[in-house]
């Protein structure tokens, strides 16, 4: 009974409930996670595009500044005659202009006017050095012709702007930009006749610019920037940026594979997520765009990207997942309880039926089962009730017929007296009783005289009536405890238990003899008969039923020999 039907049913119900909820929960978790992921990718891509546009418009502003400076008459004057006496005043004026511009543009490291001749000697240079703006002294000015931003800019036409690759600025000098990622924005300075006199260069603080651009974005967003080969220029981990400076290349496309499509120009933007294996939700969602990043003539570009920890993105989904798990646990408990209840309702009825059937089969007690239910269980209970009632009725009938059969087997059908079989049984019991109690008992053999003649004279019908009446008279003569039996024909026996004296038995025998000798009114006729009675006493005339019967029989024959209508006590053994 340990794993009974109730337990199994409950288990099945609970398992089904929990499995169903788990599947629904898992799918809702997975789909909401995917939805959040794609939403985050969209957001990131939008943010990256906005950031890119802002970056480009910042670059455009700086280009505007260089063009403005290049157009100033003092600029061309200072560049035309770098060694002239008047040039000093122009340079001074220009240095003040540079300083003013640096003051309002904190992301500018340095503004310079570089001459086209003398190996690109700087003519005016103002550096940012911490909070200070420093005009570099003439003796400290340097030759820059070997830098691409110089020789490339000098090849440009009027109004064109050069944008350098993003590099670490290792140019020595007193400025904040030393060993910092820098973009140089430059434009040529031209004389009226189109002769290139020099160039204006603004050094831009790349990290400062991006810090400013990124300030509107959520803190969790991380910024990536790479050059057109994929070398990281900005990376959340600064050690990964400018790897080529240390002689090792760290490529963006090695970590974010889809970026390859941007580098090859196959697409303009990509979104991706990098999931760390075996650690669900530890990874990144990222979006990248390819930004044109070049001056007026060439086709270079940079890759700009933003990433967000996957954990932040799927936090909501994770929360949902947790809620689902909690719901599953709670509903699981409820399912178990419900299952227990259901199984109790079902098996409770079954149990009471089992109890009723057990009780019925053991003690034949009919217990009324609750049959009020309309379902199969109620039907079963009703059937069981009906079955019990039917069985009980059948049993009673059976019992009655058995009783009747038994009676029939042990009694004379005519007189209703015990027949030989029952009488023998009673005699045996009486002898045993007397032997045990050491008392006397008597056995009388009664034989109606000339009964055959009556049968012949009046017919069997009257003979039968006579036998019935005789039996009734004999019964009236004895005590309740005594037995009168019919052995067959006109032979009767009487068993008298607890006889004190022989005389007592003989008195009863005489009484029987006399009463039988009285006339019978049968079928309108007076019939007269007599009886021969032999008596035997236990233990005097037989210590067992057989001897006793023989003695009584012998005494009865003696009585018959002597003419009948008398009582004779056995005398053979005295």
């Amino acid at each position: 009974m340990r794993y009974g039907i109730g337990f199994k049913l409950g288990l099945l119900l609970a398992t089904f409930g929990i499995v169903a909820m788990s599947i629904v929960g898992y799918y809702s978790y997975a789909s909401s996670r995917a939805m959040l992921l794609s939403a985050a990718q969209r957001d990131l891509l939008t943010a990256t595009q906005v950031l890119g546009r802002n970056f480009q418009s910042s670059i455009d502003e700086i280009s505007g500044d260089t063009l403005l400076l290049a157009k100033l008459s003092t600029t061309s004057a200072a560049a035309s005659f770098p060694m002239g006496v008047t040039a000093d005043r122009d340079k001074e004026l220009l240095a003040d202009t540079f300083a003013a511009m640096l003051a309002v543009n904190p992301q500018y490291f340095q503004i310079r006017l570089i001459g086209a001749g003398a190996h690109g000697l700087e003519l005016v240079r103002v550096d940012r050095a911490g909070d200070q703006l420093v005009r570099v002294q003439v003796a400290d000015l340097q030759e820059k012709a070997h830098y691409p931003y110089v020789f490339s800019t000098l090849q440009l036409g009027r109004g064109q702007v050069y944008l350098s690759d993003i590099t670490i600025n290792h140019e020595e000098g007193a400025h904040s930009g030393l060993h910092k990622p820098t973009v140089r924005v430059a434009t040529p300075v031209m004389a009226q006749d189109g002769k290139v006199l020099g160039l204006i260069v603004i050094n831009l603080d790349l990290n400062g610019l991006f810090d400013r651009l990124k300030s509107d974005l959520p803190n969790a967003y991380q910024l990536y920037l790479s050059n057109h080969w994929g070398d990281y220029l900005i990376h959340p981990n600064p050690a990964q940026a400018f790897g080529f400076e240390q002689g090792r290349r760290v490529f963006i496309q090695e970590f974010f594979e889809p970026v390859t499509a941007l580098i090859s120009g196959k697409s303009g933007s990509v979104v991706t997520n990098v999931e760390v294996e075996q650690q669900a939700n530890h990874g990144l969602v990222a979006a990248f765009v390819r930004l044109p990043f070049a001056g007026s003539i060439d086709q270079r570009f940079v890759i700009l990207g933003l990433s967000q920890p996957l954990e932040n993105v799927v936090r909501e989904a994770k929360k949902l997942g947790w809620t689902t798990i909690q719901m599953i646990v709670v509903l699981g408990v409820l399912a178990v309880l419900l299952a227990a209840l259901v199984s109790r309702v079902v098996t409770g009825s079954l149990r009471s039926m089992v109890h009723a059937v057990g009780l019925f089969s053991k003690e034949q007690v009919v217990s009324e089962l609750s049959s009020a239910r309309k379902d199969e269980i109620g039907l079963l209970a009703r059937s069981l009730n009906d079955m019990q009632v039917t069985i009980v009725a059948n049993l009673r009938e059976l019992n009655e017929s058995r009783q009747a059969l038994k009676h029939l087997a042990q009694h004379d059908s005519l007189t209703g007296l015990p027949n030989r079989a029952l009488f023998d049984d009673r005699l045996q019991q009486a002898v045993s009783q007397a032997r045990r109690d050491q008392t006397r008992m008597a056995l009388l053999f009664v034989d109606l005289d000339e009964f055959k003649a009556i049968n012949d004279t009046y017919g069997h019908h009257v003979g039968d009536l006579l036998l019935m009446a005789a039996a009734q008279r004999m019964e009236d003569c004895v005590r309740n405890v005594d037995t009168v039996g019919r052995l067959g024909g006109d032979e009767f026996v009487v068993l008298l238990t607890h006889v004190e004296e022989e005389q007592d038995a003989l008195v009863v025998a005489e009484k029987i003899c006399k009463t039988l000798n009285q006339p019978f009114e049968l079928d309108g006729r007076h019939i007269h008969i007599s009886a021969s009675i032999g008596a035997a006493i236990y233990p005097e005339h037989g210590s067992d039923e057989l001897t006793l019967a023989r003695s009584a029989d012998a005494a009865m024959y003696l009585s018959k020999e002597e003419g009948g209508n008398r009582v004779r006590l056995f005398e053979g053994k005295k």
């Binding site: 190996h119 690109g120 000697l121 700087e122 003796a139 400290d140 000015l141 340097q142 030759e143 820059k144 012709a145 070997h146 830098y147 691409p148 020789f151 290792h170 140019e171 020595e172 000098g173 080969w229 080529f244 400076e245 240390q246 002689g247 090792r248 060439d298």
Partner: protein, 341 residues
């Protein structure tokens, strides 16, 4: 409980027996030097296991070998300029060349160990050359009627603004000293000023100083450069040729600087015979040929068609004062005027 523990112990011991029985060689090397198929062939041939670890820079190599006094690895590859460090620190042990018979097949310039700096000490050989790359000159055949012969061509005003030099303090000081007829790696204090001046002259003659090989290709293409100091050697030549440039390659008469990676055995070697067998295997003609085929690097067994036996190759050595060279170079490339030094 104790019985279970004992069972576990016995089982694990039994399982570990075969792996302990197999000899393991621990190799520390650069990517591309010991590809897995070549390693497997060695493992099969000598019925051993080879554990290959990779390094990406000289600094990392120093760290890995110095940790535990060289006990973590059996054999490694380092260049001649770096080997002096391992000799000084006594982290490497002498080799028995008799156990490395393939050294006899090496090109003549590698056979005499005394000619190669940094691999011998007190008559003992500590390293065997494996691969090298020399820094020759790449020139545009259209702009040069004849191939340049001297390194002085980099200073030739005829090519002013069309020379591409490499942005590296150590090498530039070495070639400037060579161009002045001095020693490349041992610049005496009295000569420093003239070398600096010569480097300023170089600065004034070049178009620019490049850093990345791709950068050099781009500059060569867009700025019509005539001459290029090939810091990346023949790999860089191939890169340019692939980009469609009609270029030649030459080793100047003053000699070309070259790094030379050599195999050496640590003082912590477990089985020196096996480590020597590894070195011998690396010098096998088929293995060395594969290195050249796969990596484009020169091997020490077969001469490159472009390199002549007479070409002067100057194996890199530690320089007199790399910090001073770096500090001076930073100012030179920044454009400081000659008067400021």
């Amino acid at each position: 409980m104790i019985r279970r523990l004992l069972t576990c112990l016995i089982v694990s011991l039994t399982l570990s027996l075969p792996s302990q029985a197999v000899e393991t060689l621990r190799v520390l090397t650069w990517p591309g030097y010991a590809d897995s198929d070549l390693v497997k062939a060695f493992e099969k041939k000598f019925d051993v296991r080879v554990e290959v670890s990779y390094i990406s820079s000289d600094e990392v190599l120093r760290q890995k070998i110095s940790a535990n006094h060289g006990d973590d690895f059996d054999v490694f590859a380092a260049n001649t300029a770096e080997l002096q460090h391992y000799l000084d620190e006594k982290l490497i042990v002498p080799l028995r060349l008799a156990n490395i018979p393939n050294t006899a097949n090496q090109l003549p310039r590698f056979r005499n160990a005394k000619n190669i700096p940094g691999i011998t000490q007190l008559g003992e050989v500590y390293a065997v050359p494996y691969t090298y790359s020399e820094m020759g000159l790449i020139f545009d055949r259209k702009q040069f009627k004849e191939a340049p012969t001297s390194i002085a061509v980099m200073w030739d005003p005829k090519y002013q603004g069309r020379v591409l030099a490499f942005n590296d303090s150590s090498h530039n000081f070495s070639i400037a000293s060579l161009a002045l007829g001095g020693k490349p790696f041992r610049i005496e204090d009295k000569n420093v000023k003239s070398v600096v001046d010569h480097l300023i002259a170089l600065r004034r003659n070049v178009l620019t100083f490049y850093t990345l090989p791709e950068e050099s290709v781009e500059l060569f293409r867009t700025q019509t450069a005539a001459l290029l100091f090939a810091n990346y050697g023949r790999q860089q030549l191939k890169l340019l040729q692939d980009a469609g440039a009609d270029v030649g390659y030459v080793i100047p008469q003053e000699g070309a600087l070259a790094w030379l990676d050599c195999w050496a055995i640590t003082r912590g070697v477990k089985n020196k015979n096996l480590a020597e067998r590894w070195i011998n295997y690396m010098l096998d003609i088929t293995v060395s040929r594969e290195l050249t085929r796969r990596q484009g690097l020169s091997n020490t067994i077969e001469a490159d068609t472009a390199t002549r036996e007479t070409d002067k190759i100057i194996w890199l050595e530690p320089v007199e004062d790399d910090k001073r060279r770096a500090a001076l170079w930073a100012r030179i490339i920044s454009g400081d005027l000659p008067g400021r030094f």
